[in-house]
Amino acid sequence: MSKKFLNPADATAIVKKSIKKRRAKDSRLKLYGRFAVGLASCFLIFLFYTIFEKGTPGFFQYYVTLDVNFDKERIDPKGDLSDNSLFSGDASKIVNEALFILIEPKGRKEKKEAKKIISSGKDVRIAKMVKQNPNLFGTVTKVKFALDDDIDSFLRGYIKRETPENERRVNDNVIKFIDKLNAEGRISYNFSDYILSGSASGNPEMAGIKGAFVGSILTLFVCLLIAFPLGVATAIYLEEIAKKNKITEFIEVNINNLAAVPSVVFGIMGLAIFIGIFGMPRSIPLVGGMVLALMTLPTIIISSRAAIRAVPPSVRDAALGIGASKLQTIFHHVIPLAMPGMLTGTIIGMAQALGETAPLLMIGMVAFIVDVPNSVVDPGTVLPVQIFMWADFAERMFVQKTSAAIIVLLTFLISMNAFAIYLRKKLERRW
């Protein structure tokens, strides 16, 4: 044997020689890591910044304040404040008149243009007001009306005066009216009445997320009701009860694979099975919830199983050892201990479901539905789908509304995730 061990002194000398180089490598790796984390954080910040920057104005819009003459005869011809009566009334006209007083349009064309300044929901607004407060009848009251989305865009400066008239959506006449109103201090920039309480609407200035929001809640509710018990039950069965055999293995493989199936495929399945075979209606939160439930099921099962597995076997042994039956062991010990993990998984699954779009598109929750759904079997839409649809609309104002909707959605998602993290932290046990 030519060379044996180095003697320790020589070894130390060799080690010392290369130490500088090795230390340099060390610092480099750390630097790369820090850079990567920084970059990812920047992405996130940029994303949020963009959304917020675009979305915050979406919560606001321009209003014009008019002195409306609440003439009972004209607004409520039948005098019983019924919808029917109010609809047959002349509320729109009264508002228009109030406007005309201020801007004095000349001729039919100008009047027509002037009418468009105010959003088309003005009669509904009057109706609502008198219903709430019949005392208004007979008074002349200042009322705020939303401006049309083009006017809004103009006021925000998206539509520029300098643009040649034929290329912009607001013509010179209208600009003149706006200037007049502005001069009288009638135009104001306020928190939007519509974004949170309105529903889908072709008029961007009146569009809101209430319908989609309620739709989302209902869908989520169905999803939770189905996915949580099923997921937990499955997890318990597979982890605690089932013997390890071909069948359980098959089920496991199935679950793992379901987790990998693209969400759009779940939509296809929902379309084919629930709607195609079971004959359920399209667009309803029930079907949406069921599809999302099947989609989040693997998430819940997998995280529940992990949570169950994290319960140390010693606890089971302890219970079995003093004569608890298998199910007593499970229900008295395993489930309570695994619950935080299961809940965390479920919340994360729900958050996923809340943000999911593609499968819901498949089952038709993309339909244009004005009414706010009252139950899980009323047609409706959900927030992300609403966002998707708005993102596709051409009107400038929808960009802001979309962003605003995104902000609402994100707020929810982040608070759900934060809650999950909180739950995990709070209930986390160390054995």
């Binding site: 010693s314 606890v315 042994d317 219970a319 050892g321 003093i322 004569g323 608890a324 010990h333």
Partner: protein, 272 residues
């Protein structure tokens, strides 16, 4: 096999006093398989009334496996199969219509790692009586808990914090809590699988002390890696090797003059 007497259909290869006069548990020609693998091979032994017996042997020789036959904890392992018969007071515990739940209440078990439930100390001890419906009312239950903790030598250390979690105790205290929990369902036999191997020497000594005392009231079977421990706590010792029960006898005989040379080799630290 005729369980009524000790005559065996098969011969016993074990050296020493396999049988005792006042046996509570009688294991006869027990074989245990994990799938195809035989982990326990034709073991026959008696566990006497109120005796402390220890099982020793090299790692993997099947001590734990055999111990867990006594309260059918092996049922929880899918691939585990038990043959032969084990009787508790002449009743075959592997009989088809024996319910393991009351069986396990009669034969308590203490595990290697202290495993208190992550509940309060009180609830830990009260759990068994509760699920078995042993207490008539609350004060009865409290009584049972107090008695059990006292008997486990833990009462003085915890009586002022019964509602604090059992997992907050020190390792040794936890193990005594587990013993209290086992006692609370009034078992007749207590099985202990290396009850001190996760504890430091002082906690170990306390548990051993406790085992001594409990030996007056219960039959105790203790599996241990530590020959010293077997020597200290038990009156009888059984030596296992490769799934076979090589020798059983008085502990002092096993430690001073074992009869089988495999026992000799193990006891004196030679390769078996």
């Amino acid at each position: 096999m005729n369980l009524k007497n000790d005559e065996l259909t098969k011969s016993i290869n074990t050296v020493g006093d396999v049988f005792v006069k006042d046996a509570r548990i009688k294991a006869r020609n027990v074989n245990v398989f994990y799938a195809e693998k035989k982990a326990i091979d034709e073991v026959t032994i008696d566990i006497g009334n109120k005796e402390v017996i220890s099982f020793i042997g090299p790692s993997g020789c099947g001590k734990s496996t055999f111990l867990r036959c006594f309260n059918r904890m092996n049922d929880t392992i899918d691939i585990c199969r038990v043959e032969g018969s084990i009787t508790l007071d002449e009743e075959n515990i592997y009989d088809k219509n024996v319910d393991v739940v009351p069986l396990r209440a009669r034969i308590g078990m203490v595990f290697q790692k202290p495993n208190p439930f992550p509940k309060s100390i009180f609830d830990n001890v009260a759990y068994g009586p509760r699920i078995h419906g042993l207490a008539d009312n609350k004060s009865h239950l409290e009584n049972i808990v107090e008695m059990s903790l006292k008997r486990a030598g833990l009462w003085n250390e915890v009586n002022d914090r019964l509602i604090s979690p059992g997992t907050g105790l020190s390792g040794g205290q936890q193990q005594r809590l587990c013993i209290a929990r086992a006692i609370a369902v009034s078992p007749e036999v207590i099985l202990m699988d290396e009850p001190c191997s996760a504890l430091d020497p002082i906690a170990t000594a306390k548990i051993e002390e406790l085992i001594h005392e409990l030996g007056n009231d219960y039959s105790i079977v203790i599996v241990t890696h530590s020959m010293q421990q077997a020597a200290r706590v038990s009156k009888r010792t059984a030596y296992f090797h490769l799934g076979k029960l090589i020798e059983v006898g008085k502990t002092k005989d096993i430690f001073t003059r074992p009869q089988h040379n495999q026992t000799e080799a193990y006891i004196s630290g030679k390769i078996g």
